[in-house]
């Protein structure tokens, strides 16, 4: 073995790199980081009442919405996310495009922000859509946003 290392150090290094890469590739495939891919059950009667199911399946997002300004003013799920059956004017999207969705109501504010600060409409990074509770520190309960969709 030592003779082999002396003769072909590059080959051994490549083999180690390949083994390590294979290990991480296996981890990524066998244990996916994103669990829920926005799949939906086919129960048409349940479509109108998102909250009833989602208080149980995605409790954090649902309750944060319920306590937020959007929840208090009853800006319901479908207003931004559309309906999973594809009906209505808003396409169903778990992560809606702020340029299209937020601008439907907040276009004047977006225009002011653009004029004053030259900001692009990436609203969510400063104004968490669901997590804006009225009686609590607005940014206290921010969930990890990169791995799961709770």
């Amino acid at each position: 073995m030592p003779a082999f290392i002396k003769r072909k150090p590059m080959l051994l290094f490549l083999a180690l790199l390949l083994a390590l890469g294979g290990f991480f590739a296996y981890m990524a495939l066998a244990f996916p980081k994103v669990r829920c891919e926005g799949a939906h059950l086919n129960a048409p009667d349940e479509y109108a009442d998102c909250l009833e199911c989602h208080l149980k399946t995605t409790p954090k997002v649902s309750q944060d919405w319920h306590e937020s300004k959007h929840g208090v003013l009853l800006v319901k799920c479908v207003v931004c996310h559309g309906q999973p059956d594809g009906k209505g004017s808003i396409p169903f999207n778990p992560a809606p495009d702020p340029m299209f969705i937020c601008a439907r109501c907040h276009a004047p504010s977006i225009q002011r922000m653009e004029e004053k600060f030259g900001l692009k409409p990436e609203c969510e990074s400063c104004h968490p859509n669901h997590q804006n509770p009225m009686h609590r520190n607005a940014y206290e309960n921010r969930a990890p946003s990169d791995k799961t969709n709770f």
Binding site: F31, K33, K56, F150
Partner: protein
């Protein structure tokens, strides 16, 4: 004769060393999955183990206490098991030695998705074989639960989520999740414990 001897000796020595290494690996694989290792001696999961005692997953249907490894490590000794043991073994050792975090002030929100990633469906199904009843086989699930489990089994749409994708806070409840309506009973048991102490 001398040459013959010199060839056998290293082979025997190599075999002995390999056997010792395998025995040591087997021992450490078992020892590092124990409840004491996770919560008391080496791994900083004391609060999690304490919360488990007040959760619905403290005891199984036979009344035996459920251990960390029963949910958090894939079953058997297959590639999934070994991959998780290697991955989390190295990660946890590095974190333990480099950061040595304090369990009381640990930031738990970013840990949740990492932990959920390694909770295998097979671990859940070992006790919850019938998805329309509870683990004891007595109570049936709600209408909502029946619909969701239909989707999981592919009878009504197809959910791509797995068990831990929907069932969160079933055994651990950090302070920031106690306000959620679905966790009311669990949060109540924990706050009762804290009030009595």
């Amino acid at each position: 004769m001398g040459e013959h001897k010199s060839k056998i000796r290293p082979a025997a020595l190599g075999a002995a060393v390999l056997a010792a290494l395998l025995a040591f690996a087997g021992y450490t694989l078992r020892a590092s999955s124990s409840m004491e290792f996770c919560s008391a001696t080496c791994h900083e999961m004391g609060p999690q183990a304490e919360e488990l005692r007040y959760s619905s997953h403290a005891l199984d249907a036979q009344g035996k206490p459920i251990s960390c490894a029963q949910c958090h490590i894939p079953p058997g000794f297959g590639p999934r098991y070994l991959a998780v043991k290697a991955y989390s073994g190295i990660k946890d050792l590095v974190v333990h030695l480099v950061q040595s975090p304090d369990p009381a002030t640990m930031r738990r929100a970013p840990l949740q998705p990492v932990a959920r990633r390694f909770v295998d469906d097979a671990n859940c199904l070992a006790c919850h074989a019938d998805l329309y009843k509870d683990a004891k086989g007595e109570k049936t699930v709600s209408d909502l639960g029946r619909l969701a489990h239909d989707a999981y089994l592919g009878k009504n749409g197809q959910a791509k989520s797995n068990c831990a994708g929907c069932h969160i806070n079933i055994a651990h409840l950090p302070a920031f999740d106690r306000r959620l309506l679905v966790n009311q009973a669990f949060a109540g048991r924990i706050s009762l414990k804290e009030a009595r102490r």
